[in-house]
C-alpha cells in the first residue's frame, strides 16, 4: 500500500525542537507547466489565459444551465482535471474530480462551446481535498486551427501540496541507481501495483494528462487504463527521463488508445512530455514487455 506521508510531514514539522536560526524553510514545489526553452522539440504546452480577447468580440449568447450529473458537465470537468494534473502533477501528486457541483454552457458562434464548471477535487496520493475548483473549458468549433480545448482553472485549496520529501527520495533513488528502472503492466490484471512502481504509475497519469487534455472534445472522456511499459532512459541533464507506453481508455467510443510518450521530471520543475506518438489502432494487441536497456556505466 502506498503510504502517504504528506500530512504526516506537516505534523512532524510542528513537533519537536524549533530549528536553529538560519536554517532553510521547507522546500515548496513551484508548479511549472512545461519547458518551452527547447523550441525544436515537440513539447505540448498549455493554452492559458488566451481566450479573453476572442470571447469579448462575440455577441452574448444565452447561457444554459447544465445538469451536473449528466455527461456534458462531467466531460468538461474531466478536461479541467487533465489541466490540473499537467500543471501541478508529479510522481506524488495526482488530482481527480470528485463531484460536479454546477455547470453552464455557452455556445459562442464562430468560437466554440464554453463550459463553466464547478467541481470538488482531491489529490489522490495524500487523499487531500483541494476544495472546490472553478474552470472555464472552451472546446473550439470544428474546422478551425485549434482542436485542443482551452482551459482556465483554479481551486480553493492548495494545489502545491508539499510532497517534496517523497519526491526528493524518489528522484535520488532513480538518479543514483546503476540499473535503470523498467516496468510492465502497471497496474497488473488484478489491479496490483508494486510499491516501487506506484510513483511511476502516477507519473504516467500526470504525463497522460497532457495528451488527454489535447485530445479531448465534447464527445470524449479519457482515463489512463494501464501503463503497458516504462523504461528509464539516460538523461543529459538533471531530469529523470522515461519512455512510456500507455493505454488510454476513451469512454464514449470505449476504445483503448495506445500512446508512446517521452517524459521528463525533476523535483524542482514540473512534468514535461516530449514526442507524444499515438500508436496505430491495434485490434488484437498483445504488447511485448519492456526490455531493460544496457546498464549505465558509473558516472565519472
Amino acid at each position: 500500500m502506498h503510504r502517504c506521508v504528506c500530512a504526516a510531514l506537516a505534523v512532524l514539522s510542528l513537533v519537536g525542537a524549533s530549528p536553529t536560526p538560519g536554517s532553510a524553510p521547507p522546500r515548496s514545489v513551484p508548479w511549472k507547466a512545461s519547458r518551452l526553452d527547447k523550441p525544436n522539440e515537440h513539447v505540448i504546452f498549455l493554452q492559458y489565459g488566451e481566450t479573453e480577447p476572442a470571447l469579448k468580440l462575440k455577441e452574448t449568447m444565452p447561457v444554459e444551465e447544465l445538469n451536473p450529473t449528466h455527461y456534458p458537465a462531467r466531460r468538461a470537468a474531466a478536461v479541467a482535471q487533465h489541466f490540473l494534473n499537467a500543471r501541478h502533477g508529479s510522481p506524488y501528486k495526482w488530482f481527480h474530480v470528485e463531484q460536479v457541483q454546477s455547470a453552464t454552457l455557452e455556445e459562442i458562434a464562430g468560437v466554440g462551446a464554453k463550459y463553466h464548471v464547478v467541481f470538488s477535487a482531491k489529490e489522490g496520493v495524500c487523499n487531500q481535498s483541494v476544495g472546490l475548483c472553478t474552470a472555464d473549458v472552451l472546446f473550439p468549433e470544428a474546422g478551425g486551427d485549434q482542436t485542443a480545448p482551452q482551459v482556465q482553472c483554479s481551486c480553493e485549496g492548495p494545489l502545491a501540496i508539499n510532497a517534496s520529501a517523497q519526491e526528493e527520495a524518489f528522484y535520488r533513488r532513480l538518479r543514483g541507481s546503476n540499473s535503470p528502472v523498467t516496468g510492465n503492466n502497471i497496474p497488473d490484471s488484478f489491479g496490483f501495483i508494486a510499491p516501487d512502481m506506484k510513483p511511476l504509475w502516477i507519473l504516467a497519469g500526470v504525463a497522460s494528462s497532457f495528451v488527454m487534455l489535447k485530445e479531448s472534445n465534447e464527445n470524449t472522456l479519457y482515463n489512463l487504463a494501464q501503463v503497458a511499459n516504462v523504461t528509464q532512459l539516460e538523461s543529459e541533464d538533471k531530469q529523470l527521463k522515461f519512455q512510456y507506453h500507455v493505454l488510454l481508455h476513451e469512454m464514449v467510443s470505449q476504445e483503448i488508445i495506445h500512446w508512446k510518450l517521452l517524459v521528463t521530471w525533476a523535483p524542482a520543475g514540473g512534468v514535461s512530455v516530449l514526442h507524444p506518438e499515438r500508436q496505430p489502432h491495434c485490434h488484437d494487441c498483445v504488447l511485448p514487455p519492456a526490455t531493460a536497456p544496457k546498464e549505465r556505466s558509473d558516472p565519472e
Partner: protein
Amino acid sequence: MRGLLVLSTVFVAVFGLKAFEGDKVLRILAKNEDQISLLQDLTEMDQLQLDIWKEPTHPTLPVDIHVPFESLQSVKAFLEANEIEHYIMINDLQALIDEERHEMQSTRFIEPRNTDNFDYAQYHTLDEINAFMDMLVAENPNLVTKLRIGSSYEQRPLYVLKFSSGPNRPGFWIDTGIHSREWVTQAAGIWFAKKIVIDYGRNQAFTAILNKMDILLEIVTNPDGYHYTHTTNRMWRKTRKPNPGSSCVGVDPNRNWDAGFGGPGASSNPCMETYRGPSAHSESEVKSIVDYVKSHGNIKGFISIHSYSQMLMYPYGYTKTPVPNQPELHDLARRAIANLASLYGTKYTYGSIITTIYQASGGTIDWTYDQGIKYSYTFELRDTGRYGFLLPANQIIPTAQETWLGLMTIMQHTKDNLY
C-alpha cells in the same frame, strides 16, 4: 524485509501480542558524512531500542529505522535538532503487518473444498468460477440449480444460477460480465451468489423477496471474452466471434440487442469496440438470454451490471424519449443509490443512459424494457477512472457489498409492485 515481517507475524501469532502498535518506520535522508556519523551514533543508543532496517552508510542511500512508539519523541527531537531530513515511511507498522498477513492468507493456491473456503476477495479464472457454481449448487440443492441457456461462440456453456424457494414464481434477472474486461462485475456476481444462500432464511427482507420471486444470476455472460482477458488481452470487451471479411474479431454484446438497432450510438465497423454486429441478436451470448427471457415469460426485473463509472441507469440509451414510468424509475434509482452510499460513502450518479453516460443503441435494458420488464436497470460499478477496469482486488468485496444494497432496494420495490 519480508522475512522480518513473517518472523514478527509468527512471534505475534504465538504470543497473541500486537507487538508493534504505534511504532513507525522513519526514512532518513542524510546530506553529508557528518549526518551519517550522527546517525551511526543514534543507532548505538541501546536505550532507544531502535531496529535498523537500512544502516547509515553513505549520504546517497536512505536510512530506514523502525522506531518503537516510546522512543519516537526522542528520535524526532534528535533529527530535528541536527536538521536531518526525514519522513514517516510506515505510519503504523502493526497495521502493515496485519495487512500482509491477510494478503498471505488469501493468496494460498489451495483449491477451495467448499464455498466457505472460496476467496471472494480475488479475481478468478473461468474454471474456478464454474467449480464455484457447482459447489454452491451441491451445498444448497433445495435452493440453487444451474441452468444452461445456450453456448458461446467458442462453445462454452452459458450458465445461469436459479435461486428459487418454490415453483411458478416471477423472476428477477441479474447478469455480470457481459463485457469481459469489467472484472469487478463477475467477481461481484460470485459474491452475490454466496450472499443469496447466506441471507435466505436469515435476513428477513431478503427472505421475503426470495419467497416471492426467483433470482436468475448469470455470472459470466461472455465466457469467451473472459477467457481471452485471462490468456491474451486484459482489455478485451466484446465477444470472440470472427467477422467475415474482416481481420477484426468480436461484437459488442451491449450493442447487439434489438432496441434501436442500427441507429446512432453503436459502430458498424467490426474493428471498433462498440461494433453492433451484422444483425440484432447475431451473438449467441445475446440470443440465449433473449430466448430464455421470452420462454420464461414472467421476468419482472432485469439488471445488467458493468464497470466502471459509478452510475445506476434506466432506459433508454438509444433515444431521448423518456420511458413511460420514468418518474418511478428515477425515484427508485435515487433510493437505491442512497442505500448503496450508506455503506462506504461511494457516490453514484443516476438517470437515463442517454443523459447520464452517452447515447448507446442496441443495449440490453432498452430491449428488456420494451419487452415489458418495467424494472430494467444497468449498473456501472467502481471506480470513476483512477484504476478503471483494473480495480484492485481488495475493492471487490466492498464493491459487492454496497452494490447488493442497491440491488436489494430494486428487488424489494419490484416484489412490492409486481405486475
